[in-house]
């Protein structure tokens, strides 16, 4: 056997080894077909399992259903949005209805970051980010946040196309502005989101019909509107990362800081929180989902290990 034959043999071994590994991993797992998700069942938690990236529904009694594989998901009122990778090389938002039938896919142009569904189940929102456009300095990401209306088919591709104002001053189109973390009000028209401009973050109130964004607060990232529509849970930048806070919506102003309370979680939380009920806020940290009281009291409790993207249908 000459030198070239050795080379060919080694290359063939690597090709076979790699192909074998991928084939083995691609084979469907042997676990029994689990029940589908029930997107309207109260008292359950829907989240993405970090072990196989499948959406799983858990009731206090245990696993209640299994859904598609997603990087990020959110469910409300019979609608599930699932942000996932899609061929040839990109990502999509897959939207499922209450029968868990795939109703719509929307191409996304970046890595999934946040997902949300309006309380009625009619609107879905996503945020994706590009690491490639971090052109201001390392660690600053460009994000795209968009909304889709399931009832009209209207595709609000990017909040950058809305007209935004801070204190009545219009944000110019050529300024580097970023939006992320949309959360919806009950009227299926009003929403809130983070706007980042010139190193600061703002809480903006958006209007889907007028296509406007108005800054109403400062230092707010990844807002989440409480079920009664009166409070915002959000992450606030502090030394060493972010701390979850809750503040009344009426308390925000663009000139001062809101009368907020810091929640009991002391770890840095980089997630868009989700309200489990009127008094409890859930979030992902360190690869697990926890909940804390929304009034700053108490301590975090573990809701589910090895999971992310909490939602409470």
């Amino acid at each position: 056997m000459n030198k070239r034959h050795v080379g060919i043999a080694l290359i063939v071994a690597l090709v076979l080894g790699g192909a074998g590994y991928v084939t083995w991993r691609a084979l469907p797992s042997t676990e029994a077909q689990a029940a589908p998700l029930d997107l309207t069942r109260p008292g359950t938690l829907i989240a993405v399992s970090t072990t196989d990236q499948r959406v799983r529904q858990t009731a206090p009694s245990g696993t209640a259903g299994t859904g598609p594989a997603c990087q990020r998901s959110y469910a409300a009122a019979g609608t599930l949005i699932c942000l996932r990778s899609a061929l040839p090389m990109g990502f999509q938002a897959a939207i499922f209805d209450r029968e868990m039938v795939l109703r719509k896919t929307i191409d996304l142009w970046g890595t999934p970051s946040r997902a949300r569904v309006s309380p009625s189940g009619r609107l879905v929102a996503w945020t994706v980010f590009h690491s490639g456009d971090s052109y201001l300095r390392d660690g600053e990401f460009s994000t795209i946040a968009g909304v889709y209306d399931l009832s009209t088919g209207e595709h609000y591709g990017s909040l950058e196309d809305f007209s935004a104002t801070i204190n009545g001053v219009i944000v110019r189109m050529d300024e580097h502005v970023n939006y992320w973390g949309i959360t919806f009000a009950a009227d299926d028209r009003t929403f809130y989101a983070t706007m980042a401009l010139a190193g600061r973050t703002w809480l903006v109130r958006g209007d889907l019909v007028a296509r406007t964004l108005v800054a109403i607060g400062t230092d707010v990232e990844c807002p989440s509107l409480s079920p009664d529509g009166t409070r915002i849970a959000y992450k606030k930048r502090v030394a060493g990362g972010w701390r979850l806070h809750v503040a009344p919506l009426a308390g925000f102003s663009v000139t001062g800081s809101a009368p907020s309370v810091a929640l009991a979680e002391v770890l840095s939380v980089d997630d868009q929180p989700a309200w489990a009920d009127e008094t409890t806020v859930a979030y992902g940290v360190n690869g697990a989902i926890y909940a804390v009281p929304a009034d700053g009291s108490g301590a975090p409790t573990l809701l589910r290990s090895a999971s992310s993207s909490p939602s409470f249908p």
């Binding site: 090389m89 142009w109 390392d138 189109m173």
Partner: protein, 398 residues
């Protein structure tokens, strides 16, 4: 395995098998590297649960300077007289790091070290590889040889992300399949290099002091190249800025932003060989300068803006040809001027000067873009680049 090109003056000439072989090694390696780059943010955030803040720090590390390592790789290749051995080590290190990713898990320090090791591998292999291409090719067809190499290299970079996305879509959460496949490809590239790429006879090792590499800069012809590459590099806008500006000024939806680099890469891939041949015929310095003139055209389209797809297409086309006219062509220009025993060191010096100048240029542009409107910053860079080109052309004419 020969690619023949007819009717060059002097009859039919083939691109040497060594160049094709090194091109295929680069193709497979780039596919291996880019498939990991494509899914790394996803893996860190969703596979490991790292926050974006940590991701940002790693991102900075990933794009950090490989300049010194490049000089070291070039120096060792010359010192030992064995560029292939140094290149094998460089490709090998990078291949092994792909298996390190699943092993270090969610440790940010471990991931940082893995990424750094991968960059070490890339840094040390580049100059020896270009020295091998130079040694294997008759000087008069070097432009074409580098064109063939860069075309294959870019093809690999385009294929890699496609493989990665196919894998994670096929296997939910299957980041491990991406790493294993990337390792297999990287290892296959090393095997191709070891067993199938013959390089012109290794020279006996000569004791070369680091200082001799530095002394290369005293040679007037090399100094001229470095000065030109450095000056023009300083006036080169970072790629991401250009893509962002193209999207904004042409009024394209921001969702298309990630696709714009593909336009440049595809043009680079297609244009690399013809532009390399043109450089052989017209003179490499001339084509190198002409490439920057095309870049001024691209800045102009961005600064003027409007007309949507048409402007974006023209700007990306010019940007891709700019790369084809400057990346391999610069190596083809410098290679024949260097003594064989110091070739890898010399090419490393030229590459480093260009890379450092371009990074400084990108940083400078960042400040300019923050101080003025993006279009004004582009106008300013276009004027400055035109002035620099004029200066260099006058100097050459004298």
């Amino acid at each position: 395995m020969y690619v023949t090109t007819p009717s060059l003056p002097g009859g039919t000439r083939a691109v040497p098998a060594t160049v094709i072989g090194l091109g295929i090694v680069s193709l497979v390696t780039d596919a291996s590297a880019e498939m990991v780059t494509a899914i790394l943010p996803l893996y860190l955030v969703y596979g490991l649960g790292l926050g974006y803040l940590q991701l940002g720090l790693l991102d900075g590390l990933y794009t950090g300077a490989t300049a010194l390592l490049r000089l070291g790789g070039g120096h060792l290749a010359d010192r030992w007289g064995r560029p292939k051995a140094v290149a094998v080590a460089g490709y090998g290190i990078s291949a092994l790091t792909k298996l390190a990713f699943p092993l270090v898990g969610a440790s940010a320090a471990g991931i940082g070290a893995t990424i750094a090791a991968d960059r070490v591998g890339k840094g040390i292999r580049t100059a020896p590889r270009d020295a091998m291409i130079t040694a294997a090719t008759p000087p008069e067809t070097l432009g074409r040889a580098f064109g063939v190499h860069r075309a294959l290299d870019t093809a690999g970079a385009l294929i890699g992300p496609l493989i990665a996305f196919a894998l994670i879509t096929l296997v939910a959460g299957g980041y491990d399949t991406v790493f294993v496949t990337s390792f297999c490809l990287g290892a296959i590239a090393v095997l191709i290099l070891i067993f199938f790429v013959d390089v012109p006879g290794a020279r006996p090792a000569v004791p070369i002091a680091v200082r001799e590499g530095v002394r290369l800069l005293l040679r007037p012809e090399l100094r001229r190249i470095c000065l030109a590459a450095g000056l023009l590099g300083l006036l080169t806008v970072g790629d991401m800025f250009l893509f962002l500006a193209v999207q904004r000024s042409a009024g394209l939806p921001s969702e298309l932003l990630p696709l714009l680099p593909l336009g440049t890469a595809l043009t680079f891939m297609v244009a690399a060989i013809p532009v390399g041949r043109l450089a052989d015929r017209l003179g490499r310095r001339r084509v190198f300068l002409a490439g920057h003139a095309l870049l001024i055209g691209a800045y102009g389209f961005v600064a003027v803006g409007g007309a949507g797809w048409w402007v974006a297409g023209a700007a990306l086309l010019l940007h891709g040809i700019f790369y084809a006219a400057t990346d391999g062509v610069l190596m083809a220009q410098a290679g024949p001027l260097l003594p064989a025993e110091l070739r890898a060191s010399g090419l490393a010096v030229v590459q480093t000067v260009q890379a450092l100048a371009r990074s400084l240029g990108a940083v400078g542009f960042g400040f300019a873009a923050q101080a003025f409107a993006l279009t004004w910053a582009f106008t300013g860079y276009a004027v400055a680049l035109a002035a620099a080109l004029g200066l260099l052309t006058l100097r050459a004419a004298r």
